[in-house]
Symmetry: C2
Subunit: 200 residues, 2 copies
């Protein structure tokens, strides 16, 4: 029904996550309508990230140079490393402005069923960084999911053995701020109980 | 927070309709993750539509040649023209398989407030086609909105004068099939009453 170039665009847009056939058509018609400069700016931006962005040589976060901006920033505390699954996990943590240390991006979570073993992630590289001497604390901020928890426990156990003087912590689980107790699932609520603290 | 190439991609994706900041980030991280060939196929598809797609010289639908596939198809009935606002309106009509005539894409709807007059649309070109002699019927399929209705009435009045032998029809308004009377708005329900037909 579409001319082949339009169909190709709809097909390519439809491969994006969360973009169904209808949305892909709507986006394609939008691209057809806008000025060529605007459409080509999008095409150029796509090509540019694939050409220029690569993993940081130290922490495996996204970088447009040998190392990422956070690893290059000398005001960041190299004594504390926050371990996350994906580069996209760095954003929400940075947004809190609570963390001034450095990161280590694993590139996923351990999942023996899917054949994801420690060597498939940047776990050996984490051990090398942590045993280097400078690190005082490793904050494990993998997702609070089955695979994320398993990854956290695996790393914690290995670090206790390899670097017994380094503190290994995990982000607190509990009720989301502004959330409603009535709607909390029982696992979260159970965690909130287990992690309860004396009111200061 | 992002490396500049990543930020540029997020910005460009965020310009797409219905794509907010969060979704743009999610799409950007997806593009960062996929194989370069897949990402570049999307970039190439965007460039290709802007290079190759243009308005059909006859009906102003999207075309990758001088005229569109529908105008080129000799099995389509040239005696009946369906008038729509946008190229995207052709798709749902084609999907019904009810219409075997040709199209005329106006490029919008009349809206004096926004300064959209008949000459800003392909309305003069429609008159030229209809008065050419071959056309028996013009089906006006502009949207059932204020501007779409106004456009339909404007064109119908002009065609009655310029081509009195040509039938000018409008798509029926009424209850959507599968819809629930309880949830029908009163304008739609009023149209459904006004357009009621004897049960065959």
């Amino acid at each position: 029904m579409f001319a082949p170039p339009v169909q190709r665009l709809v097909t390519e847009l439809g491969k994006l996550p969360g973009i169904g056939q209808r949305t892909a058509q709507r986006l394609a018609f939008h691209i057809l309508r806008v000025d060529p400069e605007d459409a080509n700016a999008l095409a150029a931006a796509i090509r540019e990230v694939k050409e220029k962005i690569r993993p940081c040589a130290i922490c495996f976060n996204l970088a447009d140079e040998e190392t990422c901006r956070i690893c290059q920033d000398e005001r960041r505390d190299g004594g504390i490393i926050c371990v996350v699954e994906e580069p996209s996990d760095v954003i929400p943590i940075e947004r809190t402005h609570e963390f001034r240390g450095r990161y280590h991006v694993l590139g996923g979570a351990l999942s023996p069923i899917d054949g994801v073993d420690p060597e498939d992630l940047k776990i050996p590289q984490l051990y090398a960084r942590v045993t280097g001497g400078e690190v005082r604390e490793v904050v494990i901020a993998t997702n609070p999911t089955t695979t994320g928890e398993a990854t956290a426990h695996h790393i914690a156990a290995a670090l206790r053995e390899r670097a017994p003087d380094v503190a290994v912590t995990r982000l607190a689980s509990g009720l989301p701020v502004g959330g409603d107790l009535e709607y909390a699932d029982e696992v979260t609520l159970g965690r909130a109980f287990a992690g309860r603290r004396e009111i200061a």
